[in-house]
């Protein structure tokens, strides 16, 4: 760590001397300009946070912290609680990642490491096409194809095989948390795949050649490449997670839209983004609107926290593998 810092210092010292001698003016300008751009992102984030909080201040004052663990959402009686929506958002996104991450990493590894030239382009094109489909189409596909398949075949099979687990109990409607998670998985798959593939392809070939020359198998070589690309892969997964948390249309069409907390993946659930989209137009009184905006604020915070946790998780895992490698 200290040697790294030293090297950075040396480098910036060199840069400074260099810029002093020649393009001093334009360099300073350029640095300031890019710093402004970077800062604008921060300002935008803080500004959004403040606007959300200001627009939700009545609801914040009225419900306090109780909003976070309230379980009732009753616009008629002016009772608003966010817990079922937070639960639905986190569980559906987690489910989506559990399905999508292994799949898309597999596809990306195949494309960058093992696929014959012609294949690579075809599959990559198909994956990119998946990313371009509007979410309402995914939703319709969910209602008319996925949900009947789940109801008639997959959920009954899950119930009869793993029915002893609370995850797979209750009547199989085909609509619910499982359908929502699967739709989300399909939607985030192209993003994670495309970014991971680019990251893996950016790994210098010398890495692969070095591993192979030491007598490593294809699998061992791939592991070396993965270790080299871990930071980029983390970014890919987090991008996918961002889309899963914020997705509205497709999820609301298949998740059942019922603000209840249930362990079973067969039961209907509801996400924050969906309830905002569904109820904002017809929110007929001020407190109702404010409660929905407060949900937006919570979505914002949930995204921040989940991102931080995901980074922490990946960081701790990669650090361990680095130590193992060193040994």
């Amino acid at each position: 760590m200290s040697s790294l810092a030293l090297r950075d210092n040396e480098q910036s010292g060199l840069m400074a001397r260099w810029s002093r001698s020649r393009h001093r003016w334009s360099d300073v300008l350029f640095r300031r300009l890019t710093a402004c751009f970077a800062l604008s992102i921060l300002i935008l984030l803080v500004w959004m946070l403040i606007t959300l909080a200001l627009n939700a201040r009545q609801a914040l004052a009225r419900f306090g912290w109780g909003f976070l663990w309230g379980r009732t959402w009753d616009p008629v009686r002016e009772q608003f609680g966010a817990l079922p929506f937070v639960y639905g958002t986190i569980v559906s996104s987690t489910l989506a990642l559990c399905i999508a991450v292994p799949l898309s990493l597999g596809v990306a590894i195949f494309l960058s490491e093992h696929a014959p030239r012609g294949w690579e382009n075809v599959v990559a094109f198909l994956v990119d096409t998946l990313a371009a489909i509007p979410s309402v189409i995914y939703g319709l596909w969910g209602i008319f194809i996925l949900s009947p398949a789940l109801r008639n075949y997959i959920e009954p099979w899950l119930a009869s095989t793993f029915g002893f687990l609370p995850l797979f109990q209750g009547p199989p409607y085909g609509i619910g948390m499982l359908a929502g998670g699967i739709i989300l998985a399909i939607m985030v798959l192209p993003i994670i795949t495309a970014v991971s593939r680019d990251v893996l392809q950016a790994v210098p070939n010398t890495q692969r050649e070095a591993a192979l020359s030491l007598g490593a198998t294809r699998w061992e070589t791939t592991r070396v490449v993965l270790a080299h690309a871990r930071a980029g892969l983390t970014g890919a997964v987090i991008l996918g997670l961002g889309r899963a948390i914020g997705e509205t249309m497709a999820v609301t069409m298949v998740i059942g839209n019922r603000p209840e907390i249930s362990y079973s993946l067969f039961d209907p659930s509801y996400t924050i983004a969906s309830v905002i989209a569904n109820e904002f137009n017809e929110a007929t009184y001020e407190l109702y609107v404010q409660a929905l905006i407060e949900l937006g604020l919570i979505l914002f915070l949930v995204t921040l926290i989940v991102n931080a946790v995901a980074r922490l998780l990946v960081w701790s895992v990669t650090r361990r593998t680095r130590e193992v490698q060193r040994v």
Partner: protein
């Protein structure tokens, strides 16, 4: 030569449109329920009066009221009359102009059971309260002799997005079930005691069509278009009726004595033998005192046309025309439309 001909033709064409008075464009927004009818009206009215350009965005009743109050549109539209509180927020007097009638159909999917299952108001409330959970419940069988009801779970499907359709449906349940009043209440979004939510009429219709044993509610047009079985509902006279153009108009006609001067009225659960009980009025909302004379006049003319000539387009789209005495009352309200406190319509 050809070029010259074209030139003459095109200038001739231009002159034709320039002869007319200045073009007026009107913005409206609100309820999704009457949207098919309003878009038909917009294209038909253009044939009658090419000078007026109308634009309607179906963003929902609540949105329509909000946009009218903020004066971002020239007219709003809503399936539910504005509440007293909303009228206070609007500050200036708002006219409720009934534009057409519609009905909410109770749809279901029961393999082996044809369209026209007979359901009473009590059964309907109990099903949507989650108290009746099986299709072979004795209460349902009692009213449907000869129909073998399956021993299947009932899956309730309701609208998840705030909607006028929901408001009409729960308004009916509020009138027929005291338990509903206590547990759920009225509104465009409510805390449903049972079932799953579909997004939009198409979401509910799609869900019911897909799932055996499900029951839901949609606008009549959606039930017809999707060819989904829908129920006969028992009215206050004890007669089971399917929604139809005649039954819906009858509901409004039977309420005409009770219609207040401002025309804010609910016509669910109306009295009379030929009445379909889950019927509704849909409104166009305008400020009584207009801020622009040209636009105010154009809105007035359009609404006058809508409640008279426009009514013949209702039937084919599964809406029902306003009964005659309601048209008379609406005329009186329309004449109140003013600019600088001078009436805009001279009819």
């Amino acid at each position: 030569m050809l070029l010259l001909c074209l030139l003459i033709l095109s200038t001739g064409g231009c002159g034709g449109t320039k002869d007319g008075a200045e073009e007026v464009s009107l913005q409206g927004a609100g309820a999704t329920f009457p949207y098919p009818l309003y878009s038909k009206w917009i294209s038909e009215y253009h044939k009658v009066n090419a000078r007026v350009r109308l634009d309607y965005q179906s963003i929902g009743s609540g949105g329509g009221i909000k946009q009218l109050t903020e004066r971002t549109v020239d007219f709003g539209a809503s399936d539910v009359p504005m509440t007293d509180e909303q009228l206070r927020t609007a500050a200036k007097e708002v006219l409720h102009i009934p534009s057409a009638l519609g009905a909410v159909a109770v749809i279901y999917n029961l393999p082996g059971v044809a369209s026209g299952l007979k359901i009473t108001s009590d059964l309907l409330a109990d099903i949507f309260l989650g108290k009746i959970t099986k299709w072979n419940h004795p209460g349902i069988s009692a009213h449907n002799p000869g129909v073998s009801m399956p021993n299947a779970d009932i899956l309730v499907v309701h609208r998840t997005d705030g909607s006028g359709t929901t408001a009409v449906f729960v308004d009916y349940l509020n009138k027929v079930s005291s338990e509903w009043v206590g547990r759920v209440g009225r509104g465009t979004s409510v805390n449903w005691p049972a079932g799953i939510g579909g997004k939009g009429n198409e979401g509910v219709a799609g869900q019911v069509k897909q799932t055996a044993g499900s029951i839901g509610y949609v606008e009549l047009a959606y039930a017809e278009q999707n060819q989904i079985a829908y129920a006969e509902i028992r009215n206050r006279s004890g007669i089971f009726l399917k929604p139809s153009v005649a039954n819906i108009t009858a509901a409004a006609a039977s309420m005409s004595a009770q219609v207040p001067d401002d025309l804010r009225v609910s016509i669910t659960d109306a009295e009379g033998p030929a009445v379909y009980p889950i019927s509704a009025l849909t409104y166009i909302l305008v400020f009584r005192e207009q801020v622009d004379e040209q636009k105010g006049k154009a809105v007035g003319d359009f609404l006058w046309w809508a409640i008279h000539d426009g009514q013949k387009f209702t039937g084919p789209l599964q809406y029902a025309p306003l009964p005659d005495d309601l048209v008379k009352k609406t005329e009186t309200r329309l004449r109140l439309l003013s600019f600088n406190n001078q009436p805009l319509l001279h009819r």
